[in-house]
């Protein structure tokens, strides 16, 4: 061990660490740790000055191992490994002590405690690094194909960017058509241009692009592999329509006698037939048969669609198919669900006929919707003379969702304008705070103020039909405190629109688990870094875009779709990616062949070699969790970079007496 020479570097991080931890003392004290040949403190280790210092010391003092005590390894491990590599030192002979996130930032009022802890963490790192071995990262090839899950605006954008760059994309969509929520909208804020006019061309491009394979009415069922080499099993739900024959002429759904409420595209406001295409601009243009409602599937009789189909494209016997896709990268763009307003019973949704959700209103005001764009009450005829728009329904509320849904202020302003334009009704907005925060949004707010909308600052307490005065009879009464006056108000209106919040998809947890990404407290997918890496995830090769990452509007979703595509294109162009060599390996000469490890491995990466009576790890499948390492009764499985010796040394190091005096040490001598 005597030939090992460790360099220790303690970072001030400006005041971030040095404000709490006595970094000079930690660096002095570290001289007393085994094999330490250099110990220094430095203002900013991650700056080029700090990195240069490591490189110089390695060269001049013959350092064989490096410890940097600074921030989280998730922040700068890569940075310092790079410095070691440039100086010719294997990057796996580097170890980091996290004295910022885990010490100075969490113990600001206990400087002694934080300093003691920093010393223990540095000692742990020094003890550990002495046990570390040089490792070579695993280089894997990147397949050029990309899977995009979700055909809303974010997914379409990501798919188009990658396809336009010349690489193949599979775009998987659960519904019969791509388009997502945006296809349901009428106008878009703040410019009020028509959603269909700007979305339809993109949908068409995605459908017709030679590099995009559309898999609509399909769902991902299984994901295996790792960055560069994922295998994805997709279930193609039976359309019961032969796409090679269907021309999308529409005869089938015109003739279909079965009408059901369309709870998806029409948000429950309109009807569709059992064989249906969700909307005229659907991509692809082919219909599907909804077997749960189709008369033939319920009673065995009907087949009217089959009789009238001019190209004989109806296939009642079609079954679900599975396709296995090989892809290098994945974009999750699975979008959001709208908050179920019945969870706030005091707003009367579902009970009081003229309480609508924002999505219902989008369909109401859409020229292609059930009322052809006429804004009317639930009776289908009467125009409202007064309308209340309730903000923050299912948002900013610990009883439902604590977060702000980000889009409701603006969509409410859009509704204000549409209601006034179409009906001339008096509109009241009940809001807590107005948050029109992007470019052009505040100006739009001012425009709506100009148009005469009333804004009442107060979260609505309840909506009732119990009238207390003649003017309230037959109306919906919105009860709230007008907080700017400090008085309760009862505002009678004909129609109420609930600006329902955005929620993670109901199945987001399952999807997250399948793709190996995390969900935050709110249930949306977690990005790798909230500021600096907003579209990557903790799993290499899996990216997120759009509202599945958190509530966001169309421009932000498009930007994320494009950003995810750019990240993936970068990886595809590199052709290879380096993986952490954190893998298990079995010392076959000592393996007793007990097979305990075989059943432990969640990835089936360990197989039993019958002829040798030993187990063997396939490094391409191993993900380095270490479960087998801990399970091996003979302790002959090694988990690279997390070996038994390394962790035991770390334990010993972390528990050294931190109250010893710093040693006398000689100035650093050059080798």
């Amino acid at each position: 061990m005597s030939d090992k020479r460790v360099g220790v570097y303690v970072c001030h991080c400006g005041h971030n660490i040095a404000g709490t931890v006595d970094v000079e003392h930690v660096a002095e004290w570290a001289w007393g740790l085994p094999n330490v040949a250099v110990s220094r403190d430095c203002q900013f280790m991650c700056a080029s000055l700090g990195q240069d210092m490591i490189e110089e010391d390695i060269r001049e003092h013959g350092l064989t191992h490096i410890v940097v005590a600074s921030c989280s390894p998730h922040m700068h491990e890569k940075t310092f490994r790079g410095a070691c590599e440039r100086a010719g030192l294997n990057p796996y002979l580097f170890e980091m002590a996290n004295i910022r996130e885990h010490a100075s930032w969490v113990h600001p009022h206990d400087k002694d405690g934080a300093t003691d802890k920093a010393k223990a963490l540095v000692s742990a790192a020094v003890h550990r690094v002495l046990q570390q071995q040089p490792l070579e990262p695993l280089q894997v090839d990147i397949r050029p194909e990309t899977l995009v899950v979700g055909g809303g605006i974010a997914g379409i954008q990501a798919a188009l960017e990658i396809a336009d760059a010349g690489f193949p994309v599979y775009l998987v969509e659960r519904e019969p058509s791509i388009g997502g929520h945006m296809a349901q909208f009428d106008k878009t804020f703040p410019t009020l241009d028509c959603a269909a006019c700007i979305l339809t061309p993109k949908m068409f491009d995605a459908g017709a692009h030679p590099n995009i394979t559309l898999l609509t009415y399909s769902e991902v069922e299984q994901v295996d592999g790792y960055v560069g080499n994922f295998t994805v099993r997709v279930r193609r739900k039976a359309r019961h329509v032969d796409e090679s024959l269907c021309t999308g002429c529409g005869t089938c759904w015109e003739k279909c006698p079965k009408k059901v409420i369309d709870t998806v595209f029409e948000a429950g406001m309109g009807y569709r037939t059992a064989i249906y295409r969700p909307f005229p601009q659907a991509v692809p243009k082919y219909p599907v048969i909804d077997t749960e409602n189709c008369t033939y599937y319920q009673t065995g009789k009907c087949k009217i669609c089959e009789k009238f189909c001019p190209t004989e494209a109806i296939r009642f016997d079609m079954e679900d198919e599975y396709v296995d896709l090989e892809v290098g990268n994945i974009v999750l763009a699975t979008g959001y669900d709208i908050f179920d307003a019945r969870r706030i019973p005091q707003y009367g949704y579902g009970r009081l006929a003229n309480v609508f959700t924002s999505l219902e209103f989008e369909r109401l005001t859409n020229a292609a919707g059930p009322t052809e764009g006429k804004v009317v009450l639930r009776d289908g005829v009467t125009e409202p003379r007064s309308v209340a728009i309730i903000h923050c329904v299912g948002s900013r509320d610990k009883n439902t969702n604590e977060y702000c849904s980000a889009i409701c202020c603006m969509s409410s302003l859009k509704f204000d304008h549409l209601v006034m334009e179409k009906t001339g009704a008096q509109v009241y907005n009940f809001y807590i705070d107005m948050r029109p925060i992007h470019k052009g949004y505040e100006e739009f707010y001012h425009r709506i103020l100009d148009e005469g909308t009333q804004f009442i600052r107060g979260r609505v307490a309840e909506i009732t039909d119990a009238a207390h005065s003649p003017e309230e009879e037959g109306k919906l009464i919105v009860i709230a405190e007008d907080t700017l006056i400090g008085r309760q108000r009862r505002v009678p209106v004909d129609m109420v629109i609930l600006a329902a919040g955005l929620e993670p998809r109901a199945d987001a947890q399952g999807v997250a688990h399948m793709f190996g990404v995390g969900c935050g407290d709110s249930g949306f997918f977690t990005e790798r870094h909230p500021k600096l890496d907003p579209v990557a995830t903790m799993t290499e090769g899996v990216y997120i875009a759009g509202a599945c990452q958190g509530p966001k509007d169309i421009p932000d979703s498009v930007a994320q779709g494009a950003a995810a595509a750019a990240r993936i294109l970068g990886v595809i162009f590199r052709k290879q990616v380096a993986l952490e060599p954190i893998r298990a390996s079995i010392d076959e000469s000592r393996c007793s062949g007990c097979r305990i490890c075989n059943t432990m491995c969640p990835y089936n990466a360990i197989s039993f070699i019958e002829e040798l009576s030993v187990s063997r790890v396939n490094p391409a499948l191993c993900k380095g969790c270490g479960t087998c390492v801990a399970a091996c009764p003979s302790q002959i499985i090694t988990g690279a970079h997390f070996t038994f010796e390394q962790i035991m040394a770390e334990i010993d190091g972390i528990l050294v007496d931190v109250h010893t005096a710093p040693p006398e040490h000689t100035a650093v001598e050059a080798v």
Binding site: R100, H102, V106, K117, H513, G518, G624, T627, L655
Partner: protein
């Protein structure tokens, strides 16, 4: 034991790389204060936790050990934390046999988003260990070889 006589426990933490270590990072970036008692060691998964690590930490002077992983069902490696639950039960059995108080060694979960929970867990465990006082393993079990015991227990378990 610190100089002025008030007992400041030393806890060793084993945190999984994907959930609890990041929860600790989040507690840091969010500046959530908690007692400076926990010294943490990063492992890739709680499934890697060899019970020997816990015993070593206690033997080397820790007053308690906190193991934290992803919530059940949320493991980055699908089911490593379930393996940890099983091994942990085994370890607790051995520790109980030796007369160690239950609160000394604890297993908790925190997702990467649960910085608050992480901070609360450390604070809570610190209080519990403070109430129990120092462990001082070598004085209680000078000749005991807990490693043999645990190895035996694990082998029994593996064959069950």
């Amino acid at each position: 034991m610190s100089q002025n006589g008030t007992f400041k426990p030393v806890l060793v933490g084993f945190l999984c790389n994907w959930c609890s270590y990041r929860a600790a990072d989040l507690a840091g970036t969010s500046r959530m204060g908690y007692p400076a008692t926990l010294r943490d060691i990063r492992i890739m998964c709680t499934g890697r936790l060899d019970p020997t690590f816990v015993l070593r930490a206690l033997q080397q002077g820790a007053d308690g050990v906190l193991v934290m992983g992803c919530h059940p069902g949320q493991c980055h490696y699908q089911e490593g934390n379930y393996k940890a639950i099983r091994r942990f039960a085994l370890l607790k059995r051995v520790l109980r046999q030796m007369g160690l108080e239950d609160a000394r060694v604890q297993l908790h979960w925190a997702s990467a988003a649960q910085g608050v929970l992480f901070a609360q867990t450390v604070a809570q465990m610190t209080e519990q260990i403070k109430a129990l006082g120092p462990l001082d393993w070598p004085r209680h079990w000078p000749d005991e070889d807990p490693f043999a015991r645990i190895a035996l227990a694990m082998q029994e378990d593996a064959h069950e």
